[in-house]
Assembly symmetry: C2
Homo-oligomer: 196 residues x 2
């Protein structure tokens, strides 16, 4: 048997990532004790340092996992829509909704950038931007929207989306704020439609 060995290792990595993800997503990166959440996974810091180098490395692994999930969700939303424009709008709304989930908000929008720097520079963790950029590119080719650089458009819109999400999430009246934010967001997107 050569498998069990590899499997045990993969399982160890998965357990560490899982435990860290839970800790980072709830109490936050800075307040998560490596001793605590490794113990929770039935391991010690030794395993962590062996596999991920340091706490940051583990955060990177967690982020990569979450980003992959987010990208898959965005692609599905976009693909399921009847028209491309509707897919575009739905994709952005979905992004805002994801940014409202506490785990994503905390790890991807607060602690991640603070610890690892700008998300633009994260390796293998920009699936979301790429997904939106692709949609914009297609829309532009089909003449549905005005002339705009796809990556620039994607980044600006995603930044606005996450800003909206942050605003909603921290509001003391989420329902009211959500209406304002989404309304404003739609106006912003409408402004990108090509004049008939």
């Amino acid at each position: 048997m050569v498998r069990p060995r590899k499997e045990m290792i993969a399982e160890t990595r998965a357990k560490l990532i899982g435990a860290a993800r839970r800790a980072f997503g709830t109490i936050g990166y800075a307040d998560s004790s490596m001793d605590d959440f490794t113990a929770e996974a039935g391991l010690t810091r030794g395993a962590l340092y062996h596999h991920f180098g340091d706490k940051k490395g583990l955060l990177q692994a967690v982020i990569q996992e979450i980003d992959a999930e987010m990208t898959a969700r965005l692609n599905k939303v976009s693909a399921d829509a009847p028209t491309r424009w509707q897919g575009f709008v739905a994709e952005n709304v979905a992004y805002v909704e994801m940014a409202l989930e506490p785990e994503i908000q905390r790890i991807m929008f607060r602690d991640g950038p603070a610890v690892l720097g700008d998300p633009s520079m994260w390796p293998n963790a920009n699936g979301c931007i790429a997904a939106v950029a692709r949609t914009i590119s297609a829309l532009k080719a089909e003449g549905f929207i005005v002339d705009i650089d796809p990556e620039a458009g994607a980044r600006l819109i995603i930044a606005a989306s996450s800003g909206a999400a942050q605003w909603i999430a921290n509001s003391d009246n989420p329902a009211e704020t959500s209406k304002k934010a989404v309304g404003g967001f739609r106006v912003l997107l409408e402004g990108l439609r090509a004049p008939k």
Copy 2:
């Protein structure tokens, strides 16, 4: 004499804020040792805890100071422009430029949100959003732009601005990226102009 006493205290506070601002803006909040930068100011951690409660409190004070400076700059830019629309665009460009300054970027956009939470919730540190919202409100009243909630618009635009700035700042080809980002940003803003 009752003054010297008060002056000494104010000077102590200013020295602490200044030293912390330098440290936070360069090596970052997490890596700034309280012992180090208080010593640099000729003081100890005792003074820091006395005046600001803890490290977070000092960060708040630093942020408040920076935000006031930023707000003043934005108001001036907006007021100096020949027309309101030009003032609006200039204001946003100025915001992007400010977000490119390393100290502002680090403290206001990275460490600040990570340590204190969403900027929306910061007390007395949202002058920038208010400034942009005021401009939008005036533009709307004069019929220059489409119907959009001023605060929502301000937040979305500011989020997009800072996203653009982050993108530029971390690019390995800032000149090229800047052209793309500003170009895209102008397209976004043009979309908000009221149809003739």
